[in-house]
Subunit: 447 residues, 2 copies
C-alpha cells in the first residue's frame, strides 16, 4: 500500500474553498512541482446551479455534490483538509484554521459567497436562503411539511399561508425556483394531497427592478415573464420586500401576502476572510488586480465570487456565477507556474459564455453572444450545459435519469421529509395547533 | 380539480405505521368499502433491509425510501396523517395523536421495532443504531468524519481508535455492515485517503452466540464466517460487549478494543403503544391471537415486528423481519373484510420464504426451504429479491445503477458528510485537538 507523503521542498499552494474556482485551480496544478493543500468545511464540492432542484424535490442532494477527495484521487500533489479557515496573516504567510495554523507560499481565497439578506434582520431570521445543500434540504422539507400541516389544520387562513410561497428576487435562481414550485402545484401535489384544493396554492415572485431576469436580453426577459405568468406565478415588479414576521410579508407596494415560506434569492455576498479587510471592496468581496492578486507583488490571491476585479467592461466586478470562477482558476494555475519559473503573468480577460434560466417543462431562455434561444431548444441546451459542468459521470447519469423520469411521468422522485425542521414558527404553530384542537374527534379535513 | 373527501358512513380502519405490514394492509384494502387512515411520524416508507448500504455510502437515502402519499395516489379510500400516535384507548375506540384524537372502528398497530440496547445505558448513549434513515445517515457521516479526523490527528492511539470499527451482533444486519466496511477498507478508502495507512483499519464483529448468522443453516453460517474472515473482519464469537465509554469497549472475553464507532445491531425491541400494556409480551411486543387480534372479539390488531403471535412452530413469535409483516398485512385485509361481511376469520400461517445475507462483492448466503446457495449465485439472488421488494420503479432503477456502478468501478458514489454530527465525543475530541495543537506549523500527516 502506497502512502502519500508531501514533498516539503515544494512551494505550498493553499486553496481555501472547494467551489468551481478552487477545484479548477487545483486540477490545473496537477503535474506541477507544488504542494496543493485545499481547505473546505465540507468534504464535497457543490454544484450550486441545481440547488433549487434539491429544494423542490427534483434531485437527491448526493447527485449534485461530489466528494473532493474522490475528485483528486489520482493527483499525488493534492492534500485535503476538512476544516474551517478562520483568518489570514499575510505578513507571516500563515492562515489560522479550526485544526491549527499552516504556512503558505501561495494563498488562494476561493471562499465564494453566501445569501445576502442586506442586513434585514427579519429576513435573516425568517427567510430561507438556498446557497448550500443543508439550506436546500431544509427548504425541501419545509415545503413538504407545509402541505402535511395544511391537511391537518382547520384554520382556513393558516392553511392558505401554508400553501402560499413568496420568492424574493427574480434572477435565475428565483425564476427557476418559482417555475419549479409551479410545476409541483400542477403535476405533483394534487396527486399527493387529494384532500387539498391545490388551486389555493399561490406562488409570488417579487422583484425590486422592473423586469424578471435583470441583466438578460429584453427578449429573454419578456419570454421568461410570459412563461411564468402562464404557469400561474404572480409577478410583482418594482417591488421591495420590507418586512416578514414568519407570516405577513410587507412590501413597498400596497397589499400584503401571508405565507409560511419566504424564499430569499435576492442576492449574494462574498465570504470575506478576517485578515484581508484592508482589501475589502463592496458586497463582502476582496479587491484584486487583473492577476487576481490581493496586493501587488504579494502571494495572496482571490478568485471567483469573493474576488472583486474592476475592469472596463465590468467596473463593479464580474458576475457572481460559475464561469468567472472557472476561468480565473484556470488562469491562476498558469500564473502561479509563471511566477515559479520567473515568467511574467497574464492578465485575466473574461469570456462571457452567456446566461440562461429554465422556467419549467420545455421552457427556458438562453442568451449567448451571438444568439438567443427560448422554448424547447433552449430547455435542452440548459440541460446539456448543466450536465456537462456537473462533476462525475455517475452524477450526470443519475441526474439525467431523474430528469428523463420526471419528464416522462410528470413526477418527481424525491419528496421525503427527512430533516427535523425546527424553526420558531413551526414550534409556535405546533403549540397553537395543540391548544386549538378540540377534544372530540376532529373531522378529516375536506376542501 | 377533484378534491377527495372521506365517506363518513364507512367503517374506519386506522393503521399506525407505514412499514411493510401497514403498507401491505392498506393496499389490500383498496376497493373495499372502508375508510383507511394511516398515521406515521414520517411521510415515507423505509426499506429497512438496505439501511446498512446508506450507512456505508453505497446508496442515497432517497432511493430506499418512498413517499407514502405517492404510494397511494390512486387509492381514494386512503388518507394519510403525518403525526405521532401517543396512546390507545380501546374502551372508547379512540387513539390520541400529536394532532388530536381520532375514533376508529378497526385499529391496526403496525409500529414495528427499534434498536434494542438491552437497557445498557452506555450503549444507548454511545452506540450507534441503524433502524431508520436518520440513524443510517448519522452513521455514514460519523464513519467518513472519522477518517477526516484521522488525517488531522498526530496522536497515533486516537488515529487507530478513529479507524477501528466494532459491530455488535452477527445477524444479517451486523454481517452485512461488517462486510460493507471491509469493502470500504479495500476498495474505497485507500484512494480517498492516500495519507493514511488503511492496513491499520480494523473491523471487529462481536457475537454473543457461538456462530455468525445464528438461525441460518450450519452450512451458510460456516460460509459466511469464511467469507468475512477472508475480507479481514475479526470475528469474536461467544463474546458479550459489556461497556463502552465512547473509546474503550470492554467485553466478556479478555482483551479490550479501542474504537470511536460502535455499531449496535444486536437486536430489536417492539414499539409498544401506551394503552395496550395489558397485552404486553416480551421484547416490547404485543401478544396477539392467530387472527392478529390483541384481545378476543375486539377490534384492535397488531401485525409485523410489534406483534407477538405464539404458535407451535414459533413459540417465541415470528422472526422480526419483513415477511411475517407482509403476510400478516395481507391476511388481515381479508379478515377485516370477513368481519364486515359477517364471515369467519382465517388464522395466520407463516410461509417461511427463507433468509439471506450478503457479505460483500460476489458473496452471499441464502437459505430456502429446499435449497441453499452461496457465492455469486446467492449474491445475485439477494440482489433480485431486494430489488423486487423495494418500492417504486424509479427506486429500483437508481439502486440497480448504483450497484452496477459500484460493481464495475469498485467505487461508491455517495460519501458526503452532510449532517452535523455533534455527539459529546466529537466535541470533546475537538476541544482536545485544539489544546494539543502546536502553535508552529503542523506537519502534514504522513503514515
Amino acid at each position: 500500500m502506497k502512502v502519500n507523503v508531501p514533498d516539503l521542498n515544494q512551494p505550498r499552494v493553499v486553496i481555501i474553498g472547494g467551489g468551481f474556482g478552487g477545484i479548477t485551480l487545483a486540477k490545473a496544478l496537477k503535474n506541477t512541482a507544488v504542494q496543493v493543500v485545499m481547505f473546505d468545511k465540507n468534504n464535497y464540492h457543490t454544484f450550486q446551479p441545481l440547488l433549487y432542484q434539491v429544494a423542490t424535490g427534483g434531485l437527491e442532494p448526493d447527485s449534485i455534490a461530489f466528494p473532493i477527495r474522490k475528485m483528486f484521487k489520482n493527483q499525488s500533489n493534492f492534500f485535503f483538509r476538512m476544516a474551517e479557515v478562520r483568518s489570514v496573516n499575510a505578513e507571516k504567510k500563515m492562515i489560522s484554521t479550526s485544526v491549527g495554523e499552516i504556512r503558505y507560499d501561495f494563498l488562494v481565497v476561493a471562499t465564494g459567497s453566501r445569501t445576502n439578506f442586506f442586513g434585514i434582520d427579519a429576513m435573516e431570521k425568517m427567510g430561507k436562503g438556498m446557497k448550500n445543500i443543508p439550506e436546500a434540504l431544509d427548504l425541501r422539507h419545509i415545503i413538504l411539511n407545509n402541505f402535511e400541516k395544511a391537511v391537518l389544520t382547520t384554520d382556513l387562513k393558516e392553511r392558505s399561508a401554508l400553501m402560499n410561497f413568496v420568492v424574493v428576487g427574480a434572477g435565475p435562481t428565483g425564476v427557476e425556483t418559482a417555475g419549479a414550485l409551479a410545476e409541483l402545484k400542477t403535476h405533483i401535489l394534487p396527486k399527493d394531497f387529494p384532500e387539498l384544493d391545490l388551486r389555493q396554492m399561490q406562488i409570488h415572485l417579487v422583484e425590486a427592478s422592473d423586469q424578471v431576469l435583470p441583466g438578460m436580453s429584453a427578449e429573454s426577459t419578456k419570454n421568461a415573464k410570459k412563461a411564468l405568468t402562464k404557469l400561474g406565478v404572480n409577478i410583482w415588479l418594482n417591488t421591495r420586500v420590507q418586512d416578514y414576521n414568519g407570516l405577513n410579508v410587507s412590501m413597498s407596494m400596497p397589499g400584503e401576502i401571508q405565507t409560511r415560506t419566504l424564499i430569499w434569492s435576492a442576492g449574494v455576498i462574498g465570504n470575506m476572510l478576517p485578515g484581508l479587510e484592508g482589501a475589502a471592496g463592496h458586497g463582502g468581496r476582496i479587491k484584486v488586480d487583473q492577476f487576481n492578486r490581493v496586493r501587488k507583488h504579494d502571494r495572496e490571491f482571490a478568485i471567483g465570487d469573493v474576488a472583486l476585479m474592476s475592469t472596463e467592461a465590468y467596473p463593479d466586478g464580474h458576475p457572481m456565477v460559475a464561469q468567472p470562477a472557472i476561468q480565473q482558476g484556470e488562469l491562476l494555475a498558469r500564473n502561479i507556474k509563471n511566477i515559479i519559473f520567473g515568467r511574467s503573468m497574464q492578465p485575466f480577460k473574461y469570456r462571457d459564455k452567456g446566461s440562461m434560466a429554465t422556467i419549467g417543462r420545455n421552457k427556458a431562455v438562453v442568451d449567448m453572444k451571438k444568439t438567443r434561444m427560448r422554448g424547447v431548444f433552449a430547455w435542452l441546451t440548459w440541460m446539456v450545459v448543466h450536465l456537462f459542468y456537473l462533476a462525475g459521470f455517475r452524477n450526470k447519469l443519475v441526474v439525467f435519469i431523474n430528469w428523463f423520469w420526471s419528464y416522462m411521468t410528470y413526477d418527481k422522485g424525491t419528496r421525503l421529509i427527512m430533516r427535523k425542521v425546527v424553526d420558531k414558527t413551526t414550534e409556535e404553530l405546533r403549540e397553537a395547533e395543540k391548544e386549538e384542537l378540540p377534544l372530540e374527534e376532529p373531522e378529516l379535513v375536506g376542501a
